[in-house]
Protein backbone atom coordinates (compact mmCIF):
# COMPACT_ATOMS: atom_id res chain seq x y z
CA UNK A 1 0.00 0.00 0.00
CA UNK A 2 2.69 2.48 1.07
CA UNK A 3 4.86 1.58 -1.89
CA UNK A 4 2.00 1.91 -4.33
CA UNK A 5 1.19 5.29 -2.86
CA UNK A 6 4.76 6.53 -3.12
CA UNK A 7 4.95 5.34 -6.70
CA UNK A 8 1.74 7.11 -7.63
CA UNK A 9 2.97 10.35 -6.13
CA UNK A 10 6.26 10.04 -7.97
CA UNK A 11 4.41 9.43 -11.21
CA UNK A 12 2.29 12.52 -10.65
CA UNK A 13 5.41 14.53 -10.03
CA UNK A 14 7.06 13.25 -13.18
CA UNK A 15 4.07 14.27 -15.27
CA UNK A 16 3.98 17.71 -13.64
CA UNK A 17 7.72 18.12 -14.20
CA UNK A 18 7.40 17.20 -17.87
CA UNK A 19 4.62 19.77 -18.28
CA UNK A 20 6.88 22.32 -16.61
CA UNK A 21 9.70 21.47 -19.00
CA UNK A 22 7.34 21.69 -21.96
CA UNK A 23 6.25 25.19 -20.95
CA UNK A 24 9.89 26.29 -20.69
CA UNK A 25 10.49 24.99 -24.18
CA UNK A 26 7.31 26.61 -25.50
CA UNK A 27 8.40 30.06 -24.34
CA UNK A 28 11.89 29.62 -25.76
CA UNK A 29 10.51 28.44 -29.10
CA UNK A 30 7.98 31.25 -29.21
CA UNK A 31 10.72 33.82 -28.57
CA UNK A 32 12.87 32.27 -31.28
CA UNK A 33 9.89 32.14 -33.62
CA UNK A 34 9.17 35.78 -33.12
CA UNK A 35 12.72 37.07 -33.55
CA UNK A 36 13.85 34.62 -36.15
CA UNK A 37 10.76 34.30 -38.28
CA UNK A 38 8.35 37.03 -37.12
CA UNK A 39 5.87 34.30 -36.24
CA UNK A 40 5.29 33.77 -32.52
CA UNK A 41 3.59 30.51 -31.66
CA UNK A 42 -0.13 31.26 -31.49
CA UNK A 43 -1.55 31.13 -27.96
CA UNK A 44 1.91 30.67 -26.44
CA UNK A 45 0.82 33.26 -23.85
CA UNK A 46 -2.35 31.44 -22.78
CA UNK A 47 -1.02 27.91 -23.21
CA UNK A 48 2.13 28.51 -21.20
CA UNK A 49 0.34 30.08 -18.26
CA UNK A 50 -2.46 27.50 -18.23
CA UNK A 51 -0.21 24.46 -18.54
CA UNK A 52 2.12 25.87 -15.90
CA UNK A 53 -0.93 26.30 -13.67
CA UNK A 54 -1.70 22.59 -14.10
CA UNK A 55 1.92 21.68 -13.30
CA UNK A 56 1.90 23.89 -10.19
CA UNK A 57 -1.27 22.40 -8.78
CA UNK A 58 -0.12 18.85 -9.48
CA UNK A 59 3.10 19.76 -7.71
CA UNK A 60 0.93 21.04 -4.87
CA UNK A 61 -0.48 17.54 -4.56
CA UNK A 62 2.97 16.13 -4.02
CA UNK A 63 3.83 18.88 -1.55
CA UNK A 64 0.82 17.84 0.49
CA UNK A 65 2.66 14.60 1.06
CA UNK A 66 6.30 15.60 1.14
CA UNK A 67 6.06 18.50 3.56
CA UNK A 68 8.08 20.93 1.51
CA UNK A 69 5.80 23.85 2.29
CA UNK A 70 7.50 26.93 3.67
CA UNK A 71 6.85 27.09 7.39
CA UNK A 72 8.12 28.71 10.51
CA UNK A 73 9.99 26.10 12.49
CA UNK A 74 10.38 27.11 16.09
CA UNK A 75 8.06 24.66 17.79
CA UNK A 76 10.27 21.59 17.42
CA UNK A 77 12.92 23.46 19.39
CA UNK A 78 10.46 24.29 22.18
CA UNK A 79 8.00 21.46 22.68
CA UNK A 80 8.31 17.78 23.48
CA UNK A 81 7.74 15.15 20.82
CA UNK A 82 4.12 14.28 21.69
CA UNK A 83 3.16 17.96 21.73
CA UNK A 84 4.99 18.49 18.46
CA UNK A 85 3.03 15.62 16.99
CA UNK A 86 -0.27 17.27 17.87
CA UNK A 87 0.94 20.59 16.55
CA UNK A 88 1.76 18.85 13.29
CA UNK A 89 -1.67 17.26 13.15
CA UNK A 90 -3.25 20.65 13.77
CA UNK A 91 -1.23 22.30 11.01
CA UNK A 92 -1.91 19.56 8.47
CA UNK A 93 -5.60 19.55 9.29
CA UNK A 94 -5.81 23.24 8.48
CA UNK A 95 -3.98 22.53 5.22
CA UNK A 96 -6.50 19.76 4.53
CA UNK A 97 -9.47 22.04 5.22
CA UNK A 98 -8.05 24.81 3.04
CA UNK A 99 -7.32 22.40 0.19
CA UNK A 100 -10.76 20.81 0.45
CA UNK A 101 -12.64 24.10 0.32
CA UNK A 102 -10.40 25.21 -2.54
CA UNK A 103 -11.15 21.98 -4.43
CA UNK A 104 -14.86 22.43 -3.84
CA UNK A 105 -14.83 26.01 -5.14
CA UNK A 106 -12.59 25.02 -8.05
CA UNK A 107 -15.15 22.43 -9.09
CA UNK A 108 -17.71 25.23 -9.21
CA UNK A 109 -15.27 27.24 -11.28
CA UNK A 110 -14.88 24.30 -13.66
CA UNK A 111 -18.66 24.09 -14.09
CA UNK A 112 -19.03 27.81 -14.69
CA UNK A 113 -16.08 27.91 -17.10
CA UNK A 114 -17.60 25.01 -18.99
CA UNK A 115 -20.91 26.83 -19.22
CA UNK A 116 -19.39 30.19 -20.11
CA UNK A 117 -17.68 28.98 -23.29
CA UNK A 118 -14.58 31.03 -22.46
CA UNK A 119 -11.61 30.27 -24.71
CA UNK A 120 -7.98 31.11 -25.27
CA UNK A 121 -7.15 34.28 -27.12
CA UNK A 122 -5.77 33.12 -30.46
CA UNK A 123 -6.76 29.53 -31.17
CA UNK A 124 -10.02 29.70 -29.22
CA UNK A 125 -9.31 26.51 -27.32
CA UNK A 126 -11.90 26.07 -24.54
CA UNK A 127 -10.55 26.86 -21.07
CA UNK A 128 -12.55 24.29 -19.13
CA UNK A 129 -10.23 21.29 -19.70
CA UNK A 130 -7.42 23.23 -18.03
CA UNK A 131 -9.61 24.15 -15.08
CA UNK A 132 -10.67 20.52 -14.84
CA UNK A 133 -7.05 19.35 -14.76
CA UNK A 134 -6.33 21.90 -12.04
CA UNK A 135 -9.31 20.68 -10.04
CA UNK A 136 -8.07 17.10 -10.37
CA UNK A 137 -4.73 18.19 -8.94
CA UNK A 138 -6.52 19.59 -5.91
CA UNK A 139 -8.37 16.32 -5.40
CA UNK A 140 -4.97 14.65 -5.49
CA UNK A 141 -3.77 17.13 -2.88
CA UNK A 142 -6.64 16.22 -0.55
CA UNK A 143 -5.69 12.55 -0.76
CA UNK A 144 -1.98 13.12 -0.21
CA UNK A 145 -2.61 15.47 2.72
CA UNK A 146 -4.97 12.97 4.37
CA UNK A 147 -2.38 10.25 3.94
CA UNK A 148 0.24 12.45 5.51
CA UNK A 149 -1.96 13.16 8.53
CA UNK A 150 -2.43 9.42 9.07
CA UNK A 151 1.33 9.00 8.91
CA UNK A 152 1.94 11.75 11.44
CA UNK A 153 -0.51 10.17 13.82
CA UNK A 154 0.70 6.61 13.47
CA UNK A 155 4.42 6.70 12.78
CA UNK A 156 7.04 7.28 15.42
CA UNK A 157 9.49 8.86 12.99
CA UNK A 158 6.99 11.48 11.87
CA UNK A 159 9.34 14.39 12.41
CA UNK A 160 12.02 13.36 9.92
CA UNK A 161 12.91 16.62 8.36
CA UNK A 162 13.14 16.66 4.64
CA UNK A 163 14.88 19.74 3.44
CA UNK A 164 11.83 21.89 3.37
CA UNK A 165 13.02 24.45 0.88
CA UNK A 166 14.99 22.89 -1.89
CA UNK A 167 12.96 19.74 -1.60
CA UNK A 168 16.06 17.67 -2.15
CA UNK A 169 17.75 15.45 0.35
CA UNK A 170 21.48 15.35 0.76
CA UNK A 171 21.81 11.99 -0.94
CA UNK A 172 20.29 13.41 -4.10
CA UNK A 173 23.01 15.98 -4.55
CA UNK A 174 25.41 14.98 -7.24
CA UNK A 175 29.03 14.64 -6.33
CA UNK A 176 30.41 13.96 -9.75
CA UNK A 177 32.33 17.19 -10.22
Amino acid sequence: MNKLFDKTISAIEVVAAILFGAVTLLIVLSAIGRYGFATPIPDSFDLSRLVLGVAIVWGFASLGFRDSHIKVSITSHIFSKPVTRWIEVFAWTLLLIFTSVLAWKMFGKFLSTHASGETTFDLRIPLWPFVFAIWLGLVGAIITTLYRIIQIMTRSDFCIIENSITGSRDDEVQNDV
Binding site: S48, I70, I165
Partner: protein
Protein backbone atom coordinates in the same frame (compact mmCIF):
# COMPACT_ATOMS: atom_id res chain seq x y z
CA UNK B 1 -16.69 44.84 14.88
CA UNK B 2 -14.95 47.67 13.08
CA UNK B 3 -12.63 46.97 10.18
CA UNK B 4 -9.61 47.87 12.30
CA UNK B 5 -10.49 45.30 14.93
CA UNK B 6 -11.04 42.67 12.26
CA UNK B 7 -7.70 43.51 10.66
CA UNK B 8 -5.81 43.33 13.94
CA UNK B 9 -7.49 40.05 14.86
CA UNK B 10 -6.50 38.82 11.43
CA UNK B 11 -2.85 39.56 12.06
CA UNK B 12 -2.96 37.85 15.46
CA UNK B 13 -4.60 34.76 13.96
CA UNK B 14 -2.02 34.76 11.19
CA UNK B 15 0.97 34.82 13.53
CA UNK B 16 -0.58 32.20 15.78
CA UNK B 17 -1.17 29.79 12.92
CA UNK B 18 2.30 30.39 11.57
CA UNK B 19 3.80 29.67 14.97
CA UNK B 20 1.93 26.36 15.08
CA UNK B 21 3.48 25.14 11.85
CA UNK B 22 0.68 25.92 9.41
CA UNK B 23 2.33 26.56 6.02
CA UNK B 24 2.75 30.33 5.75
CA UNK B 25 0.77 30.61 2.53
CA UNK B 26 -2.08 28.51 3.88
CA UNK B 27 -2.22 30.58 7.08
CA UNK B 28 -2.44 33.76 5.05
CA UNK B 29 -5.08 32.24 2.80
CA UNK B 30 -7.25 31.10 5.70
CA UNK B 31 -7.04 34.47 7.48
CA UNK B 32 -7.61 36.26 4.17
CA UNK B 33 -10.79 34.34 3.39
CA UNK B 34 -12.15 34.41 6.96
CA UNK B 35 -11.34 38.10 7.36
CA UNK B 36 -12.94 38.94 4.03
CA UNK B 37 -15.95 36.95 5.20
CA UNK B 38 -16.15 38.97 8.43
CA UNK B 39 -16.27 42.20 6.45
CA UNK B 40 -18.31 41.25 3.38
CA UNK B 41 -20.04 37.95 4.12
CA UNK B 42 -19.22 34.25 4.19
CA UNK B 43 -20.48 33.32 0.74
CA UNK B 44 -18.61 35.97 -1.24
CA UNK B 45 -15.49 35.23 0.79
CA UNK B 46 -15.66 31.55 -0.14
CA UNK B 47 -16.15 32.62 -3.74
CA UNK B 48 -12.77 34.33 -3.60
CA UNK B 49 -11.40 30.80 -3.72
CA UNK B 50 -13.00 30.12 -7.07
CA UNK B 51 -11.22 33.10 -8.69
CA UNK B 52 -8.08 34.22 -6.99
CA UNK B 53 -5.92 31.08 -6.53
CA UNK B 54 -6.61 29.99 -10.12
CA UNK B 55 -5.66 33.44 -11.37
CA UNK B 56 -2.45 33.35 -9.32
CA UNK B 57 -1.21 30.02 -10.62
CA UNK B 58 -2.06 30.94 -14.21
CA UNK B 59 -0.71 34.49 -14.12
CA UNK B 60 1.75 34.96 -16.94
CA UNK B 61 3.60 37.70 -15.06
CA UNK B 62 4.67 35.22 -12.40
CA UNK B 63 5.94 32.48 -14.72
CA UNK B 64 9.49 33.84 -14.67
CA UNK B 65 9.80 32.70 -11.04
CA UNK B 66 9.78 28.95 -11.74
CA UNK B 67 12.08 29.45 -14.73
CA UNK B 68 14.72 31.25 -12.73
CA UNK B 69 14.43 28.63 -10.00
CA UNK B 70 14.90 25.92 -12.62
CA UNK B 71 17.99 27.70 -13.89
CA UNK B 72 19.51 27.67 -10.40
CA UNK B 73 18.70 24.00 -9.82
CA UNK B 74 20.15 22.97 -13.17
CA UNK B 75 23.27 24.99 -12.44
CA UNK B 76 23.72 23.21 -9.12
CA UNK B 77 23.01 19.77 -10.52
CA UNK B 78 25.50 20.27 -13.31
CA UNK B 79 28.16 21.13 -10.76
CA UNK B 80 28.46 24.84 -11.45
CA UNK B 81 28.17 25.82 -7.80
CA UNK B 82 31.04 23.51 -6.87
CA UNK B 83 33.17 24.97 -9.63
CA UNK B 84 32.48 28.47 -8.41
CA UNK B 85 33.63 27.53 -4.95
CA UNK B 86 36.70 25.82 -6.34
CA UNK B 87 37.65 28.91 -8.36
CA UNK B 88 37.06 31.15 -5.35
CA UNK B 89 39.23 28.89 -3.26
CA UNK B 90 42.03 28.84 -5.81
CA UNK B 91 42.21 32.63 -5.91
CA UNK B 92 41.51 33.55 -2.29
CA UNK B 93 42.59 30.38 -0.53
CA UNK B 94 46.18 31.47 0.07
CA UNK B 95 45.12 34.29 2.39
CA UNK B 96 44.39 34.00 6.07
CA UNK B 97 40.69 33.21 6.12
CA UNK B 98 40.77 32.73 2.40
CA UNK B 99 38.25 29.92 2.43
CA UNK B 100 35.72 32.26 4.03
CA UNK B 101 36.32 34.84 1.31
CA UNK B 102 36.02 32.13 -1.31
CA UNK B 103 32.64 31.16 0.14
CA UNK B 104 31.38 34.75 -0.06
CA UNK B 105 32.60 34.96 -3.65
CA UNK B 106 30.99 31.65 -4.57
CA UNK B 107 27.71 32.76 -2.98
CA UNK B 108 27.81 35.94 -5.06
CA UNK B 109 28.62 33.96 -8.20
CA UNK B 110 25.88 31.46 -7.57
CA UNK B 111 23.42 34.28 -6.83
CA UNK B 112 24.04 35.45 -10.38
CA UNK B 113 22.33 32.36 -11.76
CA UNK B 114 19.96 31.54 -8.91
CA UNK B 115 16.95 33.62 -7.97
CA UNK B 116 16.43 32.50 -4.40
CA UNK B 117 18.31 33.19 -1.19
CA UNK B 118 17.43 30.01 0.63
CA UNK B 119 18.48 27.97 -2.40
CA UNK B 120 21.79 29.83 -2.50
CA UNK B 121 22.30 29.23 1.22
CA UNK B 122 21.29 25.56 0.94
CA UNK B 123 23.57 24.90 -2.03
CA UNK B 124 26.54 26.60 -0.45
CA UNK B 125 26.01 24.81 2.84
CA UNK B 126 26.39 21.51 1.05
CA UNK B 127 29.53 22.64 -0.77
CA UNK B 128 31.40 25.18 1.34
CA UNK B 129 30.52 24.13 4.89
CA UNK B 130 32.29 20.73 4.80
CA UNK B 131 35.39 22.34 3.28
CA UNK B 132 35.54 25.04 5.93
CA UNK B 133 35.07 22.43 8.67
CA UNK B 134 37.95 20.43 7.23
CA UNK B 135 40.12 23.55 7.34
CA UNK B 136 39.31 24.07 11.05
CA UNK B 137 36.97 26.99 10.72
CA UNK B 138 34.72 27.46 13.73
CA UNK B 139 31.03 26.69 13.22
CA UNK B 140 30.26 30.29 14.00
CA UNK B 141 32.32 31.61 11.09
CA UNK B 142 31.49 28.83 8.63
CA UNK B 143 27.72 29.04 9.02
CA UNK B 144 27.65 32.82 9.43
CA UNK B 145 29.44 33.37 6.14
CA UNK B 146 27.07 31.08 4.28
CA UNK B 147 23.91 32.46 5.88
CA UNK B 148 24.90 36.00 4.95
CA UNK B 149 26.32 35.09 1.54
CA UNK B 150 23.09 33.29 0.78
CA UNK B 151 21.10 36.51 1.09
CA UNK B 152 22.83 37.72 -2.08
CA UNK B 153 20.54 35.35 -3.98
CA UNK B 154 17.69 37.87 -3.98
CA UNK B 155 19.76 40.98 -4.62
CA UNK B 156 22.11 39.97 -7.42
CA UNK B 157 19.89 39.27 -10.43
CA UNK B 158 17.99 37.10 -11.18
CA UNK B 159 15.84 37.49 -8.10
CA UNK B 160 12.49 35.96 -7.24
CA UNK B 161 11.79 38.60 -4.62
CA UNK B 162 12.53 41.47 -7.00
CA UNK B 163 10.26 39.80 -9.54
CA UNK B 164 7.43 39.70 -7.01
CA UNK B 165 8.09 43.32 -6.04
CA UNK B 166 7.85 44.26 -9.71
CA UNK B 167 4.62 42.28 -10.03
CA UNK B 168 3.01 44.04 -7.06
CA UNK B 169 4.11 47.55 -7.93
CA UNK B 170 3.88 47.15 -11.71
CA UNK B 171 7.52 48.06 -12.21
CA UNK B 172 9.64 46.70 -15.04
CA UNK B 173 11.28 43.55 -13.68
CA UNK B 174 14.18 43.89 -16.11
CA UNK B 175 15.01 47.36 -14.80
CA UNK B 176 14.80 46.10 -11.21
CA UNK B 177 17.25 43.30 -12.02
CA UNK B 178 19.77 45.69 -13.52
CA UNK B 179 19.35 47.97 -10.50
CA UNK B 180 20.30 45.13 -8.16
CA UNK B 181 23.64 44.55 -9.84
CA UNK B 182 25.84 47.22 -8.25
CA UNK B 183 24.39 46.94 -4.72
CA UNK B 184 24.96 43.20 -5.02
CA UNK B 185 28.62 43.63 -5.89
CA UNK B 186 28.96 46.15 -3.07
CA UNK B 187 27.54 43.51 -0.74
CA UNK B 188 30.12 40.94 -1.82
CA UNK B 189 32.88 43.43 -1.16
CA UNK B 190 31.54 44.44 2.26
CA UNK B 191 31.00 40.81 3.32
CA UNK B 192 34.60 40.02 2.39
CA UNK B 193 35.80 42.98 4.44
CA UNK B 194 33.64 41.80 7.33
CA UNK B 195 35.22 38.35 7.19
CA UNK B 196 38.72 39.82 7.12
CA UNK B 197 38.38 42.46 9.79
CA UNK B 198 35.87 40.94 12.22
CA UNK B 199 37.09 37.38 12.30
CA UNK B 200 40.60 38.21 11.05
CA UNK B 201 42.69 36.90 13.90
CA UNK B 202 40.70 33.77 14.66
CA UNK B 203 40.75 32.56 11.07
CA UNK B 204 42.95 29.63 10.00
CA UNK B 205 45.91 30.22 7.70
CA UNK B 206 45.45 29.75 3.98
CA UNK B 207 46.97 27.19 1.66
CA UNK B 208 49.75 27.92 -0.80
CA UNK B 209 48.54 29.21 -4.14
CA UNK B 210 49.70 27.91 -7.49
CA UNK B 211 49.04 29.94 -10.62
CA UNK B 212 48.45 26.78 -12.56
CA UNK B 213 45.69 25.72 -10.24
CA UNK B 214 44.26 29.22 -10.31
CA UNK B 215 43.89 29.34 -14.06
CA UNK B 216 42.71 25.75 -14.25
CA UNK B 217 39.84 26.66 -11.91
CA UNK B 218 38.76 29.46 -14.21
CA UNK B 219 38.14 26.95 -16.97
CA UNK B 220 35.36 25.58 -14.81
CA UNK B 221 33.44 28.81 -14.32
CA UNK B 222 33.05 29.87 -17.95
CA UNK B 223 29.57 28.37 -18.04
CA UNK B 224 28.31 30.44 -15.11
CA UNK B 225 29.84 33.54 -16.60
CA UNK B 226 28.37 32.86 -20.02
CA UNK B 227 24.88 32.26 -18.61
CA UNK B 228 24.93 35.31 -16.40
CA UNK B 229 26.21 37.56 -19.15
CA UNK B 230 23.69 36.20 -21.67
CA UNK B 231 20.70 36.60 -19.37
CA UNK B 232 21.63 39.97 -17.90
CA UNK B 233 22.85 41.42 -21.17
CA UNK B 234 19.66 40.34 -22.92
CA UNK B 235 17.62 42.07 -20.24
CA UNK B 236 19.89 45.13 -20.16
CA UNK B 237 19.81 45.60 -23.92
CA UNK B 238 16.10 44.98 -23.92
CA UNK B 239 16.18 42.18 -26.48
CA UNK B 240 13.77 39.97 -24.54
CA UNK B 241 11.31 40.26 -21.69
CA UNK B 242 12.35 39.08 -18.26
CA UNK B 243 10.11 36.01 -18.65
CA UNK B 244 11.75 35.03 -21.91
CA UNK B 245 15.19 35.65 -20.41
CA UNK B 246 14.26 33.33 -17.54
CA UNK B 247 12.99 30.51 -19.75
CA UNK B 248 15.92 30.87 -22.12
CA UNK B 249 18.39 30.96 -19.21
CA UNK B 250 16.98 27.71 -17.85
CA UNK B 251 17.03 26.17 -21.31
CA UNK B 252 20.66 27.21 -21.94
CA UNK B 253 21.75 25.88 -18.55
CA UNK B 254 20.27 22.52 -19.49
CA UNK B 255 21.91 22.60 -22.92
CA UNK B 256 25.33 23.43 -21.45
CA UNK B 257 24.91 20.73 -18.82
CA UNK B 258 23.98 18.14 -21.42
CA UNK B 259 26.81 19.20 -23.75
CA UNK B 260 29.31 18.81 -20.91
CA UNK B 261 27.78 15.45 -20.04
CA UNK B 262 26.94 16.66 -16.55
CA UNK B 263 23.20 16.30 -17.08
CA UNK B 264 21.46 13.26 -18.46
CA UNK B 265 17.82 12.49 -18.97
CA UNK B 266 17.42 11.35 -15.40
CA UNK B 267 19.04 14.33 -13.74
CA UNK B 268 17.18 16.67 -16.06
CA UNK B 269 13.93 15.19 -14.84
CA UNK B 270 15.08 15.38 -11.23
CA UNK B 271 16.01 19.02 -11.70
CA UNK B 272 12.58 19.76 -13.11
CA UNK B 273 10.94 18.03 -10.15
CA UNK B 274 13.11 19.84 -7.65
CA UNK B 275 12.50 23.24 -9.25
CA UNK B 276 8.80 22.54 -9.42
CA UNK B 277 8.66 21.72 -5.71
CA UNK B 278 10.38 24.97 -4.79
CA UNK B 279 8.12 26.88 -7.15
CA UNK B 280 5.00 25.33 -5.68
CA UNK B 281 6.11 26.31 -2.19
CA UNK B 282 6.49 29.90 -3.42
CA UNK B 283 3.19 29.83 -5.29
CA UNK B 284 1.45 28.64 -2.10
CA UNK B 285 2.72 31.76 -0.38
CA UNK B 286 1.65 33.90 -3.31
CA UNK B 287 -1.85 32.41 -3.31
CA UNK B 288 -2.25 33.05 0.41
CA UNK B 289 -0.68 36.47 0.35
CA UNK B 290 -2.91 37.68 -2.46
CA UNK B 291 -6.01 36.47 -0.58
CA UNK B 292 -4.71 38.18 2.54
CA UNK B 293 -4.13 41.32 0.48
CA UNK B 294 -7.77 41.38 -0.63
CA UNK B 295 -8.79 41.13 3.01
CA UNK B 296 -6.56 44.05 3.97
CA UNK B 297 -7.83 46.08 1.01
CA UNK B 298 -11.47 45.56 1.94
CA UNK B 299 -10.81 46.71 5.52
CA UNK B 300 -9.12 49.80 4.05
CA UNK B 301 -6.47 49.45 6.75
CA UNK B 302 -3.55 50.09 4.34
CA UNK B 303 -5.01 53.47 3.38
CA UNK B 304 -5.52 54.36 7.03
CA UNK B 305 -2.01 53.28 7.96
CA UNK B 306 -0.69 55.32 5.06
CA UNK B 307 -2.57 58.46 5.94
CA UNK B 308 -1.78 58.26 9.64
CA UNK B 309 1.90 57.68 8.82
CA UNK B 310 1.90 60.79 6.65
CA UNK B 311 0.02 62.71 9.36
CA UNK B 312 2.88 62.10 11.77
CA UNK B 313 4.76 64.81 9.90
CA UNK B 314 8.12 63.09 10.10
CA UNK B 315 9.23 64.45 6.77
CA UNK B 316 10.44 62.47 3.78
CA UNK B 317 13.36 60.66 5.35
CA UNK B 318 11.77 60.36 8.76
CA UNK B 319 8.82 58.49 7.24
CA UNK B 320 11.13 56.35 5.12
CA UNK B 321 13.16 55.49 8.20
CA UNK B 322 10.03 54.52 10.10
CA UNK B 323 8.89 52.29 7.21
CA UNK B 324 12.27 50.57 7.02
CA UNK B 325 12.25 50.09 10.77
CA UNK B 326 8.83 48.48 10.45
CA UNK B 327 10.22 46.16 7.76
CA UNK B 328 13.17 45.29 9.98
CA UNK B 329 10.96 44.40 12.93
CA UNK B 330 8.54 42.43 10.75
CA UNK B 331 11.53 40.77 9.11
CA UNK B 332 12.48 39.31 12.44
CA UNK B 333 9.28 37.25 12.36
CA UNK B 334 8.25 36.86 8.74
CA UNK B 335 9.45 35.09 5.64
CA UNK B 336 11.00 37.33 2.97
CA UNK B 337 8.44 36.68 0.28
CA UNK B 338 5.52 36.90 2.69
CA UNK B 339 6.78 40.21 3.97
CA UNK B 340 7.15 41.72 0.51
CA UNK B 341 3.64 40.69 -0.41
CA UNK B 342 2.12 41.86 2.85
CA UNK B 343 3.93 45.11 3.38
CA UNK B 344 4.73 46.54 -0.03
CA UNK B 345 1.11 47.21 -1.06
CA UNK B 346 0.64 49.06 2.24
CA UNK B 347 3.71 51.26 2.07
CA UNK B 348 4.20 51.68 -1.68
CA UNK B 349 1.58 54.45 -2.06
CA UNK B 350 3.31 56.39 0.74
CA UNK B 351 6.68 55.98 -0.95
CA UNK B 352 5.24 57.28 -4.19
CA UNK B 353 3.60 60.20 -2.45
CA UNK B 354 6.89 61.10 -0.84
CA UNK B 355 8.48 61.12 -4.28
CA UNK B 356 10.97 58.27 -3.82
CA UNK B 357 12.03 56.31 -6.87
CA UNK B 358 10.08 53.02 -7.07
CA UNK B 359 13.04 51.10 -8.53
CA UNK B 360 15.35 52.38 -5.83
CA UNK B 361 12.79 51.53 -3.17
CA UNK B 362 12.57 48.01 -4.56
CA UNK B 363 16.28 47.52 -3.95
CA UNK B 364 16.07 49.11 -0.50
CA UNK B 365 13.19 46.82 0.42
CA UNK B 366 15.02 43.73 -0.82
CA UNK B 367 18.07 44.67 1.23
CA UNK B 368 15.91 45.12 4.30
CA UNK B 369 14.30 41.77 3.63
CA UNK B 370 17.76 40.24 3.25
CA UNK B 371 18.49 41.32 6.78
CA UNK B 372 15.34 39.55 7.93
CA UNK B 373 16.69 36.31 6.45
CA UNK B 374 19.52 36.23 8.97
CA UNK B 375 18.02 37.90 12.03
CA UNK B 376 16.45 35.96 14.92
CA UNK B 377 13.99 34.57 15.75
CA UNK B 378 12.81 33.76 12.21
CA UNK B 379 15.79 33.84 9.91
CA UNK B 380 14.97 31.59 6.99
CA UNK B 381 18.58 31.19 5.84
CA UNK B 382 19.65 30.32 9.36
CA UNK B 383 16.94 27.65 9.58
CA UNK B 384 18.05 26.14 6.30
CA UNK B 385 21.64 25.89 7.45
CA UNK B 386 20.45 24.55 10.78
CA UNK B 387 18.48 21.85 8.93
CA UNK B 388 21.42 20.89 6.74
CA UNK B 389 24.20 20.81 9.32
CA UNK B 390 24.40 18.39 12.16
CA UNK B 391 25.44 19.47 15.65
CA UNK B 392 25.42 23.20 15.02
CA UNK B 393 23.34 25.18 17.48
CA UNK B 394 21.00 27.71 15.93
CA UNK B 395 22.31 30.30 18.39
CA UNK B 396 25.81 29.73 17.04
CA UNK B 397 24.66 30.56 13.55
CA UNK B 398 22.88 33.70 14.74
CA UNK B 399 26.06 34.74 16.53
CA UNK B 400 28.05 34.06 13.37
CA UNK B 401 25.99 36.42 11.22
CA UNK B 402 26.39 39.39 13.55
CA UNK B 403 29.20 41.16 11.63
CA UNK B 404 27.31 40.69 8.38
CA UNK B 405 24.20 42.24 9.88
CA UNK B 406 26.31 45.25 10.80
CA UNK B 407 27.72 45.71 7.30
CA UNK B 408 24.23 45.17 5.87
CA UNK B 409 22.96 48.10 7.91
CA UNK B 410 25.94 50.15 6.73
CA UNK B 411 25.19 49.27 3.11
CA UNK B 412 21.53 50.16 3.55
CA UNK B 413 22.52 53.55 4.95
CA UNK B 414 24.87 54.12 2.01
CA UNK B 415 22.17 53.37 -0.50
CA UNK B 416 19.59 55.53 1.22
CA UNK B 417 22.11 58.37 1.32
CA UNK B 418 23.28 57.87 -2.28
CA UNK B 419 20.43 56.52 -4.44
CA UNK B 420 22.70 56.88 -7.47
CA UNK B 421 24.51 53.68 -6.42
CA UNK B 422 21.31 51.88 -7.42
CA UNK B 423 20.00 54.08 -10.16
CA UNK B 424 22.90 55.04 -12.38
CA UNK B 425 23.08 51.68 -14.14
CA UNK B 426 19.37 51.24 -14.99
CA UNK B 427 19.30 54.85 -16.18
CA UNK B 428 21.72 53.93 -18.96
CA UNK B 429 19.23 51.36 -20.30
CA UNK B 430 17.57 52.22 -23.61
Amino acid sequence: MTSEVIAISGFIALFTMMFFRVPIGVAMGIVGVCGFGAVVGVKPAMNLLSQSPLRTITDFNLTLIPFFILMGVLATNSGMSRELFRAGNAWFGWMKGGLGLASVGACGGFAAICGSSVATAATMTKIAYPEMKKANYSDEVATGVIAAGGTLGILIPPSVVLAVYGFITEQDVGVLFIAGLVPGLLAVLLYMLAVRFWYGRSLPEGKAFSWKEGFASLKGVWAVLLLFVCVILAIYLGVVTATEAAATGAFLTAVIGIARRRINRRSLLNSLIEALRTSVAIYTILIGAILFGYFLAITQVPQEVASSLLDLGLGRFGTLLLILLLFLIMGCFLDAMAMIILMVPIVFPIIQQLGFDPIWFGIVVVMTVELGLITPPVGMNVFIIDNLTKNVKITTIFKGVLPFVLVDVLRLALIVAFPAIVLFLPETMS
